[in-house]
Subunit: 301 residues, 2 copies
């Protein structure tokens, strides 16, 4: 089954396009999970795995997908990489779609090895990729579309410095417009039964005007919208990153969900001891926020 | 000591700017190291670690640096990641500069985690990075220059599809020219005692004309030139990727060295049993080839 069809079905089932980013910065974990400020790599990795599993247990009934970022695991070496594998496996057992946030990009034979790493070793459903090296660096991932795998190519990222290269003027538009045109052509052969491609795009929720323009430029490309919540992206501004029928995008929140216990809105009410309830409330709040702009979704779990 | 100063000193000491890329595709290993065609992840990882150590033992007296690529290790999960760590540690013990070929690129807080992974967990001396996300994605790596760390930013990669995005016309040049201008400005604050920056650039040896133009565009930026050898890059064409005094670049060969036993030039003479001697001869041949174009280096080990 095409990845886009699977993703849309999961969004329908859960009634929301909310995506939870698992970016487990060790220093930010609830105190109960990190008794040591100077942990060994193994201790830190165990804490990341425990934290990830508990996040997943809370959000699995509420969202279609999670997006763990490999960097926070690699920061603790191979022990951390094992924790990443455990986290992905746990999310899969809970029925979640897993998008490995890896932002990989390398030449052909090397890209094959990365595709094997994310799709075979850890069995992620999709992966984020950097398009700077062009088609032959992406083809080994596209080749896995028949296996139900997908990818999201960076087009316009959510960070302030995305302007440095992505916003340079090129032709009638910007560099990211040219990348969007490439992604559109690369995505076309991988369109599934419901009209959306297994080849998606990362478009920062922090740049809603650009996201709206990019929606028109890549009409069959699912968007992964990072930057909602802690990075400042607002739901109302995001409506136009979706298609007219309210489909075609998933909205990611990482810190705003997983570290909700540290946010002003939840800190006093739940405190660090009840951090999982803060995760649940923050996820429900995000669902409700998105439901306002997307009539086909519902705020109730 | 600034990374560029360390790199230049190592090039002087070894008398060559040859760099050995360790891309250990399991299926290509000498038969004696891979008795099993369907290895467990642990068996495969052990084979990669053994292969890497033996490559390093052969080339350590002959070259200043090695460049292991993480993808081939990640293809065997956390066990593979452990083999990568062992390989880097072995190369460091042998006095080699280690460039982790990771091509990472992510937003600020995530980039910090990646910097920790490559510089603290595995103690690589430098890392390859993708510049598509701009300065804030690179700053956590630049912040490590005072620790002697360096990086090489992808400007014009060696693969055919590098044209897809990198060669699009932008202003008076191409996208890669604009990236070069950014790299030049980012590199300037990190220039060491010998006039070269700890912030380098990856420029494909497969595009010698572009490499020559980029040399002028980034006068203080060390180049990592991949694509020599198996990918078709020739030494003569590369001369202009170096500065007038023959400095400022390192030339990478991966398959042409580590899998030399499978190349026509060495297969019959050494065979698979004497694969290490093939590695040594291929490294010596590369040294001699580069010495022809660089008078300050010498072909003798």
């Amino acid at each position: 089954m095409n990845f886009a069809d699977r993703l849309l079905a999961a969004i329908d089932e859960k009634g929301t396009p909310a995506l939870v980013g698992i970016d487990p910065r060790y220093e930010s974990l609830p105190r109960a999970l990190r008794p040591d400020d100077s942990p060994s790599r193994l201790e830190a990795a165990r804490a990341l795995a425990e934290f990830g599993s508990r996040i997943i247990d809370v959000v699995a009934p509420l969202v279609p997908a999670v997006k763990p970022n490999l960097a926070f695991y690699e920061a603790f070496g191979f022990e951390g990489c094992r924790a990443f594998e455990e986290t992905v496996a746990h999310a899969k057992r809970k029925g979640l779609i897993v998008i490995a946030d890896a932002k990989r990009g390398d030449i052909g034979p090397t890209a094959e090895a990365y595709a094997r790493a994310v799709f075979d070793v850890v069995d992620a459903d999709a992966v984020t990729l950097n398009p700077y090296l062009g088609l032959d660096s992406l083809a080994p991932f596209f080749a896995r579309v028949p296996d139900g795998k997908g990818c999201f190519l960076l087009v316009k990222t959510s960070n302030p410095s995305s302007k440095d290269l992505q916003d340079l003027p090129l032709g009638a538009g910007k560099v990211y417009d040219a990348v969007a045109a490439l992604v559109r052509s690369w995505a076309e052969p991988h369109v599934g039964a419901r009209g959306w491609s297994a080849v998606g795009a990362v478009v920062g929720a922090t740049f809603p005007e650009q996201a709206a323009a990019l929606r028109a430029a890549m009409p069959r490309t699912p968007f992964l919208l990072p930057g909602y919540g802690a990075q400042g992206g607002k739901a109302d501004a995001l409506r136009r990153a979706f298609a007219a029928d309210g489909r075609g995008a998933i909205v990611n929140s990482s810190r705003g969900i997983i570290f909700a216990f540290a946010e002003e809105a939840y800190r006093e009410r739940y405190g660090e001891d009840r951090w999982e309830e803060a995760v649940r409330q923050a996820t429900l709040a995000m669902r409700a926020d998105l439901a306002r702009i997307l009539p086909h979704t519902g705020p109730e779990a």
